[in-house]
């Protein structure tokens, strides 16, 4: 097992390299990355020259890549063009935890709802419950997050109001201004109201597919011969489902969930933008809009690495759960 993990970790490295190359490569396609800056009359020519040198744009592309690569590895991510005066590293490290918190909660909520209803849907195939679950899953999967986000905002911030006249749920942001230094529990309660809508929007979208995966995996497993054997042994139906079937059905789910993470991470970008949440997603989009390509590159790279690491964890969990995997 330990060797398997080590081998897997080593296998991550070429992936990370490819990802870095692609991130770098995409933004290198931009013909003149400093076009926007050059048009800004307030920025001196000399500053632009300095930036060009710092970023290595005076060098041929392969050298530029190495310069960038070594800088990134060392943690020197350069200045932020979006927020002049700050370093890219600070900007990004402020944004990262926000996204991770949002994704983490959304993920948990999704799974906690989707998996049980997927199981029930499979056990009661073709019943009304199954039908309802199927329809809801499809609704979720088909509704673009920006639309459901806007609809929710309309409902909970414009239409529904609290007695004080304030919107029922805040339309954006992550914390009420002024509460940054408040004690933990007060902050928690406050944060919660900001997170409700984005989490619901994201979760609604992903729980549809998770429920469908769980359902089809369970259906597949319930048809297997060994389930028939368990019943023939006299195992009570409840154990047949939760002991014999579920364990087998979860195995492909681990992989499927891992594969869906890139989609979710990407989808968060839009949701963050709509709800003005200062996370990696909205940072990335802002960076693209404002042509802060260095930040955009690193941001893309980081989110990809996050996905790769997550896949690694999923692989390990998979190997742990399925005794048939040979650690060869």
């Amino acid at each position: 097992m330990r060797d398997y993990i080590i081998r897997r970790i080593l296998g991550m490295i070429p992936l990370i390299l490819i990802v870095m190359i692609v991130s770098f490569g995409i933004f290198s396609l931009v013909p003149n990355p400093f076009a926007a800056l050059m048009e800004n009359p307030r920025i001196k020519k000399a500053d632009i020259q300095r930036l060009i040198k710092a970023w290595g744009f005076d060098l041929p592309w392969y050298l530029r890549f190495f310069k960038w690569f070594s800088g990134v590895i060392r943690g020197d991510w350069g200045p932020s063009l979006l927020y002049p005066g700050s370093m890219a590293r600070d900007v990004i490290s402020r944004a990262l935890p926000v996204t991770m918190r949002l994704m983490g909660i959304e993920f948990l909520v999704s799974l906690v709802i989707a998996l049980p209803i997927g199981i029930i849907s499979a056990v009661k195939q073709y019943s009304m419950t199954d039908y309802v679950v199927t329809v809801i899953s499809f609704l979720g999967m088909s509704m673009p997050t920006f639309w459901s986000g806007l609809l929710m905002m309309m409902l909970f911030s414009v239409v529904l109001k609290r007695p004080s006249g304030m919107p029922l749920l805040p339309a954006g942001g992550i914390i009420t201004p002024g509460l940054e230094e408040a004690p933990f529990w007060a902050k928690l309660g406050d944060r919660a109201q900001y997170l409700v809508m984005p989490v619901v929007v994201l979760a609604f979208f992903s729980l549809g597919s998770y429920a469908r995966y769980m359902r089809s995996s369970m259906l597949e497993v319930i048809r297997q011969d060994y389930i028939r054997t368990a019943r023939a042994k006299g195992v009570p139906e409840r154990s047949v489902i939760y002991k014999h079937a579920l364990r087998n059905a979860m195995i492909p789910i681990v992989t499927l969930i891992a594969l869906s993470v890139p989609g979710i991470v990407g989808g968060a970008a839009i949701t963050e933008t709509i709800f003005s949440i200062p996370g990696m997603g909205s940072l990335f989009i802002a960076a693209n809009v404002k042509a802060d390509y260095p930040t955009a590159m690193i941001s893309l790279m980081l989110t990809s690495i996050l996905v790769i690491v997550f896949n690694l964890v999923a692989d390990i969990v998979y190997a742990w759960v399925d005794p048939r995997i040979k650690y060869s």
Binding site: I18, T134, F138, P144, P262, G263, S304, V307
Partner: protein, 300 residues
């Protein structure tokens, strides 16, 4: 075959599975799948709306009404869906935007399925180092969240319809590649492939004549569901401003415009969003039903 069916009909018996052709069976199962039929109706409705609509309601989607009084009009005789922030007729923009969104969705989905299918077919059939390299590359590409990637490329390549299609295809072929490769790997082991090889069929012939038709079912389903996904991508990109540019309408960029007016003109949000939702839902329902009809036991 025909005589048996006639006999069965005469005796008042139902036709059984032995009396249909393969395509006939698929169609038969499909028409009985409730959700698929709902999806089909939704799609037919949308297609009629988008293609026949403009013939009935002729208005210029880009014509702006003069004066402030023409802005944000609610539904009226002159403008059944009202007007937007530039005084343009919303209904006409819906038609036009729909056509663009559907076009992009359809072309991207088909292209990426074909491209991915091809890669998967080759990788699966030849195996070995070709397979290894292709799959490593696919894995790496899959790790990069698609959506940010699309944004990145859109901002770099410029904004427009063909750029979006290119971008969706370049980053969408991977799922199909994996799907087809997996399928080919299992089909490869079947006896008819061995038999074909034994009578001297060339690799090309085996791939195209024997393996490909069996992957068609999977590809068709994947395309159908892919159209839904592509439409969402296009809408998302346009929503953020990187896709179809003004003054051309697409359902996505109509939503982008409407975002600021959530407080006073919610109608502008509801129409395009609803259209996207119904279209994608229709494709998803239909695609799922198609998958069940083609092989009720297939787990995809």
């Amino acid at each position: 075959m025909a005589e048996k069916a006639i006999e069965a009909k005469k005796k008042g018996q139902k036709k059984s599975s032995e009396d249909y052709t393969y395509a006939g069976m698929v169609f038969h199962r499909l028409t009985r799948h409730k959700l698929a039929m709902v999806g089909a109706f939704m799609l037919i409705f949308i297609l009629l709306f988008v293609f026949v609509g403009p013939l009935i309601w002729r208005a210029d989607p880009n014509a702006q009404i003069e004066g402030l009084g023409g802005l944000f009009n609610p539904a009226s005789r002159a403008h059944p869906f009202g007007t937007d922030d530039y005084g343009r007729d919303v209904l006409a923009r819906m038609f036009f935007g729909g056509r663009i969104s559907l076009f992009i969705g359809f072309i991207s989905a088909i292209s990426s399925t074909l491209a991915g299918g091809f890669v998967g077919l080759v990788a699966g059939y030849y195996g070995g180092w070709a397979d290894n390299i292709l799959m490593r590359f696919t894995d790496a590409m899959l790790s990069i969240p698609t959506f940010p990637l699309l944004i990145a490329l859109a901002s770099v390549l410029g904004k427009g319809v063909w750029q979006i299609i290119l971008v969706i295809v370049v980053f969408g072929w991977m799922t199909d590649a994996r799907l087809v490769r997996g399928l080919v790997l299992s089909l490869k082991e079947q006896e008819y492939v061995e038999a074909a090889r034994a009578i001297g069929a060339s690799a090309n012939r085996i791939m195209w004549r024997h393996l490909f038709p069996n992957t068609l079912a999977v590809l068709i389903v994947s395309t159908t569901i892919g159209i839904g996904g592509a439409i969402i991508y296009e809408a998302s990109i346009s929503f953020l401003g990187f896709g179809v540019q003004a003054p051309f309408a697409s359902w996505g960029n109509m939503l982008q415009n409407a975002q600021q007016f959530i407080w006073n003109s919610p109608r502008l949000i509801i129409y395009p969003g609803l259209a996207i939702f119904m279209t994608v839902l229709g494709f998803n329902f239909f695609g799922d039903g198609l998958r069940d009809a083609i092989d009720p036991k297939l787990k995809l």
